[in-house]
Amino acid sequence: MSRIERDLNLLEAHIHTFNYRNLRRLDWLLVGLTLALSIAGLFTLYSASQSAAVDAPFFSKYYVKQILFCSLGILMAMLIACMDYRALVSMAPFFYGLAVLLLIAVPLIGFTAMGGQHWLRAYGVGLQPSEFSKVALIYTLAWYLSRYQERIYKIGYFVGALAIAGILILLILIQGDLGTAIVASPLVFVMLFAAGCRRRHILAIVLAGCIIAPLGYFNLDRLPLKDHQRIRIVSFFHPEADPNYAKEAGYQIIQTKIAVGSGQMWGKGFGKGTQTHMRFLPVYHTDFIFALFAEEMGFVGGVILIGLYTLFLLRGLSLARDCPDLAGGLLALGSISVIAFHVLVNIAITLNLLPVTGLPLPFLSYGGSFFVTTMMCVGTVLSVHVRKGFFS
């Protein structure tokens, strides 16, 4: 392909907000890592499905449903990769409004699932609006920060960004989705930091958080938290003090540690994780799927998986760094950060480094909304990369 030809293609890509030819210039390393992680996830879920009831219908098995979700997610990623991200960024305020609307509407018309989050059920498919509001937040922040980049060092614009994020996070919290709120908060700081805010502003907010958090912990009763969340926080710090130790969060912590630890160096082998298959491990197919993976694949498998995540995330960050356009860079950075926080917090919870909150692991955990959201983030990063040559 000659240089002129390529420039022509680029021009085309720029002119058409949607162009399937963009798929030719995808970052294949990132795509490969995404597929590798998704396949690892399918295999892990296949193992998890074995312990479900023997006579469960084929289409109700976790891995079968997850294949559907995967297909849907890949489709979504391709769709976004083909679109011009700038067009999407310019539509960000609309996404934001939609997210706020959904978050307000769902508690009124939705229903509550076991984690305590609200779901919206339409056409037989459950939707978690808090998942999609994460994506809306990334786009809105990218829009806001790139628009006011020159003035972001001023405290007023800084607070404006915080307010945009704060409203959405508060709504997610009210929904009862503590996990998503926990992941969304650092995302805001990462994006603010990369957009060139003053370090002292971020430091001040972080310091304030450090002061407020312990205050919050000692005044747990007065916080607008659900009982099960309160118990989880307390039982992280004092697992033995839990009155329903055997049944509640303390039990989860112990059983998860046993599952991970008993994998030892080489693991128990695929499909042979006893903690999972004999039902000692809670929610092994969603939030604690890393425990199942570590039990069956051992330390070696666990490190390889973390290695895959590391490669994926670093590749994503390098794509973000190399984007000459601020909005694109921030979009890619935000998308990668969301995935990174999910990975870090989920594994840290499984390894008993953080209190238990319902938080899935990207690519591995069972769940449609979450997988599709993750793939939307991946699609965003790819879309940013596809168009980077245009600016050079």
Partner: protein, 657 residues
Amino acid sequence: MTGTAQKKRYEGFEGRVTWLAFALLLALAGLCVRLWELQVIEGAQYADQAENNRLMNEPLKSPRGIIYGRDERVVLADNRAANDLVLVPALCSDPQSVIETLSQIIEVNKDALLADIASAEKRKAPWEQIRVKQDISRTELTLVEERSFALPGVYTVARPQRRYYYNQTAGQLLGFINKILPDEWERLRPRYKIDDVTGRAGLEQQYQEVLKGTDGAMIVSRYNGSVPQLKTDERGNPYVETDSKGRALEVEERIEPVPGGSIFTTLDIGLQRECERLLSGMAGAAVVLNAETGEVLAMASSPGYDPSIYVTNSPDRDTLIRTTEGDPSKPSSSRAHEFHYPPGSVFKVLLAIAGLEEGVINEHTTFGCSGKFYLPGVSRPWRCWRLRYGGHGGVGVVDALAYSCDVYFYNVGLKLGPERIKAWSSKLGLGVTTGIDLPREVPGLIPDPERKKRLAIEAKKTEPWYQKWYPGETVNMSIGQGEVVTTPLQNAVLMASVLNGGRRVRPYLNMELGPQVTEPLFSEETLRIVMEGMRKCVARDKPAPTGTGKEAKIEGLDILGKTGTAQVAGLQHVKHYSNEEDIPYELRDHALFVSGVTDRSPRIAVSVIVEHGLHGSSTAAPIARQIYEYFYLKRPDEPGSASVAQPLTIARREAGE
């Protein structure tokens, strides 16, 4: 260019993203370190915990050892299969109708069963075995098996249960078994499980460790929160297929149990039954020892009880146990070794041996008996039982034994002194435990001055009369009264040494222990004199006075004997009764008789006591006679007898098996 105007990137962007990448790397590395800590450093510990989660130890109970008589033809205690009837709701199409059918053929609690089934369904555990009835009878089993086509999901699970063949006979010697006590279990775990049984009395307790064997185990995989369901095949071997929710389980390892060891006893079950028959209606004991070896051929105690009450499938089990345990006459205790009594004149045998051996008397030493005996400084006399006939006159040691002269032995006792009496008692086995292989043996007591003083000091009684030993106490002691108490078993051991040439035997029930016999403890001369006295005691010589034990006489047998009549209450309580039949039962004297046969093989020593039987001569001696008649003369040719043939097992052992 048609696109929107591009914002120029802020210069620090690349640097800040690089910083974020480093922070991310650090965090991911931290996760790897934690993973290393959990999986590699602490991994083995968690692997153990995971195995504990996954595997369950389903014990395989070892069958309890069998207790035989003298050979395999006599089984005293073995195990039968107790069948528990169970119902699995998942296997019956219509539990309601199954229960209806069941209730038509056997007695079941319909409502309780339906409630159990409902609760199992609610717990999503339809594969749980619901216990319909425990330990069903043979008739019930047959009825259920006949109708099995109409009873889907109903089957039996077998477990071994103790069985005693001879009911009351030798009940106190066999002892009984019952559920382990919580504190006992705390001490014995993990070898014992909380639902184990242990021997609580008799041989069952003494040889608990031998009889128990070693439990095996099935190591079964299990699911969280479910219970493996134990089944038994047609031979009674337990196995596991599913848990209470119907999920298939695997038996990963099966450690077969080691059955408990068998015990062959020295008991001659026919003789034991005869002894118990002779004592029936009275309270008392009869001990028959092989005088040469110390084998316990019979050790009867009346009243008796049946150890089967603890293992019965009768609905009255609890009532039966409560009645037995609450019975004031203590039918479950063996009066032969768990109770002690004053030996009375039986003690004179010991005094005669001690006196002759210590040289304080010889064959020709005589003391005059006027029926009364005075100590210097004591106005009240000690009496001889023949006071109302004017005493025994001048008697030697042979006649003193034969006619049981109290005054003679008052003199012998005073010459010996309490220390020497005690020393000889201990040497010949009175007032000390015999070492029989049964629990709860009491030692009895022979008092002495040192003990009296020690007890007084311990009780802080400083007055001299509490601490000083008085000659009167020695006098009481000389005829087996005062504080002297011995067990009927000890009396039999003393008698055995007279029969076997002065050796002390250790009585035993477990054939395996073998005899344990000392060298002769006194001279042949002493033996000859004492034997002569005891032979004369049983003889029906004329003229009067005749020997006190003449009731035991059997023509053609050389029987030695000594009667004893032990006061229970002081004379002042009973002397106003002119007729002894009027004395209240609990104030009447105990009747004792020790005796033996010298000219038959095996030579046996017999010790009989009848509580409140008034006179050894009239109550106890006839029992001994009937024991000899049964053992030597009327012996039916029945298995397990000590008098007929060599026991099978000893013969086998000698054949070099």
